[in-house]
Each structure stands twice: as structure tokens, then as C-alpha cells.
């Protein structure tokens, strides 16, 4: 769990260039981390590569916060 969060944090930090302290489980990509829609698409693509999984468009649309991503990965790996 912690490991997944750390790996997600690393990707988010690099992709969105935001301070690590802002990347909490509750943080919304668009509202808190200044991501635009395409940034979120790219983030999901990177998560797919990092965790070697495929996230359908339908599921990807539901990923709005860091916690959503972490929970999705944990329950689908």
C-alpha cells in the first residue's frame, strides 16, 4: 500500500512538477495539483506502464484524486 502510494507520488511529482507535500491521498489532480485533462490522461498512461496494467477509458475517467489512483491500482493488481 505505502509502496504503491510512493510510486504514484513519484510519477505525479515528476509529471506535474508540484511540491511533494501537496500530493496527499485526498489531492484532486485537477483542483489541487493543477493538472489539465490531458495531464490526467498522460498520468494514467504512465501509471499503466509503471504498474504493468491496463486501465480502461471507463475506469480512467473515475480517477480524480491521488487516492483514486492508489486504490484502483491496489484493487486491480
Amino acid at each position: 500500500m505505502a509502496d504503491v502510494l510512493e510510486r504514484v507520488k513519484g510519477i505525479v511529482k515528476e509529471r506535474l512538477d508540484v511540491d511533494e507535500s501537496k500530493i496527499t491521498m485526498e489531492a484532486s489532480f485537477k483542483d489541487d495539483l493543477e493538472a489539465d485533462s490531458l495531464d490526467v490522461v498522460e498520468l494514467v498512461m504512465e501509471l499503466e506502464d509503471e504498474f504493468d496494467m491496463e486501465i480502461s477509458d471507463e475506469d480512467a475517467e473515475k480517477i480524480e484524486t491521488v487516492g483514486d489512483a492508489v486504490n484502483y491500482i491496489n484493487s486491480n493488481q
Partner: protein, 246 residues
């Protein structure tokens, strides 16, 4: 001009697609030759490119199937390591007067000529976004601008491609993916070879430059739009039609 770039051309076994594949290869690109049914003709294009000293592979895929399109893009990236240029050229015709056109004739043309562009763009944008750039050239048609009796399905699809080109250009601009369209007019292909002399003459009378175009006429403009010389052009439709539709 395109040294080391990787290009995928859909519908590249014949006609305009074939001319585009050969031209991109001549400029140094490695080319994936997509085809739906004409395997031998696709192999001939691959052979011709390889004999000229460039790299090429053929990939069978129906562009109206999302699954086949995804697997095609995967193959290109696995084989060549990236995808820098996508040319959406695959297209079919099922001409008929609107009042005689069957629903399936309409659907087939929309599926291949319009949905195919959407699916292939979507799949190719993924690696392009990762590599932070790419060029997409969609082959539309001047009839998508002017309309054409007997081609309601084809015209609707080609108009759609022009709109899709503009929207993709806007969505992908921030990722340095350049999207443009080329709209051919009357081009010498298998289809126009079958015309009678009087039909051909009446077509030529509609063209200020008074000749049919060639696949090479189209391919050279595609080559330009696929190159870094076109880095400040996006969302445009270039007519290559001898001045027929202005």
C-alpha cells in the same frame, strides 16, 4: 528530410497510400505499410521500399476495429521503437444516390473513412504523447468541402475528417502533435483508370490546371506536412486538386 523517423500509412497497398509510403521512405523514413485485404500488393510496396535501401514492414488491420488498430500501433512501436508520423489514408467508396443508398453502405464508409481516423489517431497519440511530439496527416477529399452527388456517405465522412483534424490539432497542440489534412481532387488511381474518355474529359474541364493529379502530387504535400518544415502549421486542410475547389 525524414531520416530515422517512423511512419505508419494506413491503406498503403495501393493508390495514394502506396505513393505516400514510397515517398516517405525515399525521404529516409521507416515505413509501416497497413493494408486490409491486399496482402500481395502490400508486400510489393514493402519490397520496393527495402530494395531502395529503407526499412518497411506490412501490417494487416481493419482500421474500423479498435482492437486491430491498437495491435497495429503496438506492432509499429515494437518493431521500430516509436511512431513519429501517422498518415490516415485508408478509405473505401460505396457510391450511390442518396435515395438509393442502403444503410449498410452509409455505415461501411463512415466506419472505415471516419471512425478509422478517430481510432487510429487515438491509439497513435499515446506513444506520440510519451515521446512529446508527432505528425498526423489525414487524407480528406475536396468533395468533403464541395459536396458531390452520388457520394453522401463518402462526403459526410470526408467532411468529418476535416472537423476531426481541427479538433485533434487543438487537443494535441500542447503536446507538440501536429495534425493536418490533405484534400485530394481527382487523382489517377485504379478507380479513375476505368473512366471513359468523355468522362475523363469532362472531369478535366472542371480543373483549372486541366489534368488529373497523381499519387505523387499528394505524397509530396504529405511529406512536407510530415516534416519539421511544417512545425507551425496545424489544423489545416491543404487542397491538392489543380485548383478545382477554391
Amino acid at each position: 528530410m525524414l531520416d530515422g523517423k517512423v511512419a505508419l500509412v494506413t491503406g498503403a497497398s495501393r493508390g495514394i497510400g502506396r505513393a505516400i509510403a514510397l515517398e516517405l521512405a525515399r525521404q529516409g523514413a521507416k515505413v509501416a505499410v497497413n493494408y486490409a485485404g491486399s496482402e500481395q500488393k502490400a508486400q510489393d510496396v514493402v519490397d520496393e521500399i527495402q530494395q531502395a535501401g529503407s526499412e518497411a514492414i506490412k501490417i494487416q488491420a481493419n482500421v474500423s476495429s479498435e482492437e486491430e488498430v491498437k495491435s497495429m500501433i503496438k506492432q509499429v512501436v515494437e518493431q521500430f521503437g516509436s511512431i513519429d508520423i501517422l498518415v490516415n489514408n485508408a478509405g473505401i467508396t460505396r457510391d450511390n444516390l442518396l435515395m438509393r443508398m442502403k444503410e449498410e453502405e452509409f455505415d461501411q464508409v463512415i466506419d472505415t473513412n471516419l471512425k478509422g481516423v478517430f481510432l487510429t489517431t487515438k491509439a497513435a497519440a499515446r506513444p506520440m504523447m510519451k515521446q512529446k511530439g508527432g505528425k498526423i496527416v489525414n487524407i480528406a477529399s475536396v468533395v468533403g468541402v464541395s459536396g458531390n452527388a452520388g457520394q453522401a456517405n463518402y462526403v459526410a465522412a470526408k467532411s468529418g475528417v476535416i472537423g476531426l483534424t481541427k479538433t485533434s490539432a487543438k487537443e494535441f497542440a500542447s503536446r507538440n502533435i501536429i495534425v493536418n489534412a490533405v484534400a485530394p481532387g481527382f487523382i489517377e488511381t485504379d478507380m479513375t483508370d476505368e473512366l471513359r474518355d468523355d468522362q475523363r474529359e469532362s472531369m478535366q474541364n472542371m480543373i483549372p490546371l486541366a489534368r488529373l493529379g497523381t499519387g505523387e502530387d499528394i505524397a509530396k504535400v504529405v511529406r512536407f506536412l510530415a516534416s519539421d518544415d511544417a512545425n507551425y502549421i496545424t489544423g489545416q486542410t491543404i487542397h491538392v486538386d489543380g485548383g478545382m475547389v477554391m
